[in-house]
């Protein structure tokens, strides 16, 4: 597809589904009969109130955002005071993908919870992104960059990095050759590559 998309999660978005799978620490506030199996450490058939367990965001959020919440939540440590200070000190020095591959997307999800620690998350994300953007852009524009550095970035930055690299390559080839060269379609090329690999496998 040639259309350029800015981040806009929707029902079918793979990134949105994966980022909403990130876990939130929850404490059960209302006894949930018959759901004891969700807590592997307990043998009770029911999920007793007071039980602590990690739930994926997609489940924790609707359970938490009710007039009488089923669970209370705790903000993951990477968005709390101690980690916030590390980011403020030098955001570029942090291997953010080790904190979470979906650092930004998950952060946006968390900002929706009604919890005092959540109000600061939006600002935190914005500041982190602003200070790291220059680094990402630099990497993308520098031809000497090892292409695998992208893997050290969380998904959002990684995609930006790859887009930046691609357009940089296109610009260079346009400056050199004036463009207009016809290429094998991407999927066709991948298909051929795979076929060749299979043949080689058979021969060895």
């Amino acid at each position: 597809m040639s259309l350029c998309h800015s981040y806009m999660p929707n029902y079918f978005s793979i990134d949105d589904i994966l980022s909403s799978q990130e876990r939130v620490s929850c404490k059960i506030e209302v006894k949930l009969p018959g759901l004891g199996y969700l807590d592997v450490s307990s043998e009770s058939p029911d999920l007793q109130s007071g039980t602590k367990l990690d739930l994926p965001h997609w489940l924790a959020y609707p359970m938490n955002s009710r007039t009488h919440p089923f669970v209370s939540i705790e903000v993951p440590k990477i968005y709390k005071e101690a980690y916030r200070e590390i980011l403020t000190a030098d955001a570029c020095a942090v291997a953010l993908n080790k904190w979470s591959c979906y650092f930004y997307e998950f952060g946006i999800h968390l900002a929706q919870y009604e919890h005092s620690d959540c109000n600061l998350i939006q600002d935190l994300l914005l500041q982190a992104f602003k200070s790291r953007f220059r680094l990402v852009m630099d990497w993308a524009h520098n031809t000497g960059t090892d292409p695998t550095v992208g893997l050290q970035l969380p998904i959002l930055e990684r995609k930006l990095f790859l887009t930046g690299r691609k357009s940089r390559c296109l610009l260079i080839s346009w400056l050199k050759e004036g463009g207009g060269s016809i290429e094998t379609s991407e999927m066709v090329a991948n298909h051929k590559k795979r076929k060749r690999a299979e043949l080689e496998d058979e021969n060895t």
Binding site: S2, L3, H5, S6, M8, Y11
Partner: protein, 217 residues
């Protein structure tokens, strides 16, 4: 590029009035193409321009048959036609991609408009409906009909994918406009002076693109 087309068409086609010269039509199509390429949402269709230009092309092709093989003019005309055809195809492809991407959203917006105001051509509308119907059929056959009874619905509202109107675009100002307010920023109003170029959120200038007051670049 437009100059040579105007030249070519001038001696191929004698109808030549101020408003609708081939050069002007080509310029308008190129503008429509750039707008469509950079706008996140689908724009009102320009089928009169497309139809008119395609008609020009077939005239030119008819006339070229009269030229002898090897005539240098043949190659020049053919090249020119190829370039125009590329612009038209690229323009229509971009629209088709948006239609596929935002099918439900575009169709429901379009239902609110009268047929004359529709952003889609009848052909595009027919395609959009078939595209949606085909997806629904696949969802039903493979998954929905096997789900528990109260989960079988094709939930149009949830499944709607919308373009991100807050994304940023580059534009050049054709006509001066005053007092643009960009949401989410300080309350400063932005004035657009003719000829100026800027990077701005799409939402507040969407209507200006459709009126032709600004050109996306």
């Amino acid at each position: 590029m437009d100059d040579s087309v105007a030249d070519v068409s001038e001696h191929l086609d004698s109808s030549d009035n101020e408003e609708f010269t081939p050069g002007k039509v080509l310029q308008d199509i190129e503008n429509a193409w750039l707008n469509e390429k950079f706008a996140p949402e689908i724009l009102p269709h320009q089928s009169e321009l497309v139809d008119c230009m395609l008609e020009q092309i077939s005239h030119m092709e008819e006339n070229m048959k009269k030229l002898k093989k090897g005539d240098i003019r043949l190659a020049i005309h053919k090249m020119e036609i190829d370039r125009i055809r590329f612009v038209i195809k690229s323009y229509l492809r971009t629209r088709l991609e948006k239609i596929e991407q935002y099918t439900i959203h575009i169709l429901s917006e379009d239902d609110k408009k009268s047929p004359e105001e529709s952003y889609l051509t009848p052909g595009e509308r027919k395609f959009a409906k078939e595209y949606l119907a085909n997806i629904e059929t696949l969802f039903r056959t493979v998954a929905l009909q096997h789900m528990p009874a109260n989960f079988q619905a094709f939930e149009v509202d949830k499944l709607t994918v919308k373009p991100n109107l807050n994304s940023h675009v580059f534009l050049r100002v054709n006509k001066p406009v005053q007092g643009i307010i960009v949401p989410g920023t300080t309350n400063d109003e932005i004035d657009l002076t003719a000829g100026a170029q800027r990077l701005i959120q799409y939402q507040p200038i969407a209507s200006l693109v459709k009126e032709g007051a600004v050109q996306l670049i």
